[in-house]
Amino acid sequence: MFENIRADFMCEYRSKKGSRSIDYLQWLLLDYGLQAVVIYRFGRWLNFLPKHSLVWLITLFLYPLYWLMSAWTRNAYGIDLDQSADIGPGFHIYHFGGIEVRNCRIGSHCNILQQVKLGSAKTTDKTLVIGKSVYIGAHAHIYADVTIGDGATIGPGAVVTEDIPPYCLVLGNPGRIIQRDYDNSALL
């Protein structure tokens, strides 16, 4: 959990280019996306704790804490990071409101923006898979169980229904590949 959270803070640090040091407390209070991601990591950590008899006593108190905090991020910020999503380290959320992430596997160093909806509601063995360092623009919807390659860029308002190869720029509804070999290092 702590390595992942450190990677999330480093991602936040990179996005704030003017800041000189990592201000943990202020960022946790004022950056709602970071707060939601940290609470999600805490929930995942609880789920994967070893199942000993004494650990069960600790989780009895920590689970209600997690439920309260996740309900807070869901209702107050509109950021719903479900436990069915497997999110890699260095996840960064810009802004807040209308974010739903469920039933998907997300690689490391991905960025999402507000009103982004990822993952289908149905639970099959095939899930949505998103590669490393993918940028997903505002209001983008990915409901289908597709595979999105490393370094892909999903433009604002795009609706993706097909598999996307690595390093592609996808725009429009329905989503179409506008450019291959698109470098999104400036966006992340």
Partner: protein
């Protein structure tokens, strides 16, 4: 704070055209319309921001006004998921949707514009340019406008439009990628309608 009273009077006239304006009705209006509340809080935050720039960062501005404005802004974020950047210049009265999820980071928004629910107007992450919205623009719900662009006066963006290029005046755009629907369209009637009736109005224009 003449700007705040102007916003409240304009909203009052828009919402209850036949009712007399009293202090109690103005308070009730502020309590029941989140869009107006957001605008008023933004006016306060921007006034503070400009004052700070004029004076330099002095400690008494920080202590007296900024905790109150920050508290109001955070409360508005939590209840409506709305956020307006303090460097976004709004000239005159604009009408914001009461349903929330609005994020505004434009450089300038003209007077008389109408902005629907779940609208994002912000900077491009590629070059950091911010849009300039003209006067009397009608922006439907779920629109995204980004990049260093300008949108002409009296333009109409139908719901669900994504705009990243310059738009001329008096034009109707729709879709993602955005395409031109109508030219020389006057959206005065559309802007006078409340949010729910606007969809029906567009449908009637569509058939005609």
């Amino acid at each position: 704070m003449s700007l705040v009273s102007k916003y409240i009077l304009m909203a009052h006239r828009r919402r209850w055209p036949d009712r007399s304006i009293t202090f109690a009705s103005c308070l009730w209006l502020l309590a029941c319309t989140p869009g107006l509340r957001l605008l008023v809080i933004h006016a306060m935050a921007r006034w503070l921001h400009l004052k700070r720039i004029a004076d330099g960062r002095t400690w008494y501005w920080r202590i007296t006004y900024s905790p109150l404005v920050l508290l109001l802004k955070v409360a508005e974020r939590h209840t409506n998921k709305t956020d307006i950047q303090k460097d976004c210049e709004i000239e005159g009265y604009i009408c914001l949707s009461d349903q929330g999820h609005i994020i505004l980071g434009a450089k300038k928004i003209g007077s008389g514009s109408v902005i629907g629910a779940r609208v994002t107007i912000g900077r491009s992450h590629v070059n950091g340019g911010r849009p300039i919205i003209g006067r009397n623009v009608w922006i439907g719900s779920d629109c995204v406008i980004y990049g260093a662009i300008s949108i002409g006066d009296g333009a109409t963006l139908l719901p669900g439009t994504v705009i990243s290029k310059n738009i001329p005046a008096n034009i109707v755009m729709q879709g993602n990628p955005a395409r031109l629907v109508l030219q020389n369209f006057d959206n005065a009637e559309l802007r006078d309608l409340q949010d729910l009736d606007a969809i029906e109005y567009i449908k009637t224009k569509w058939d005609a």
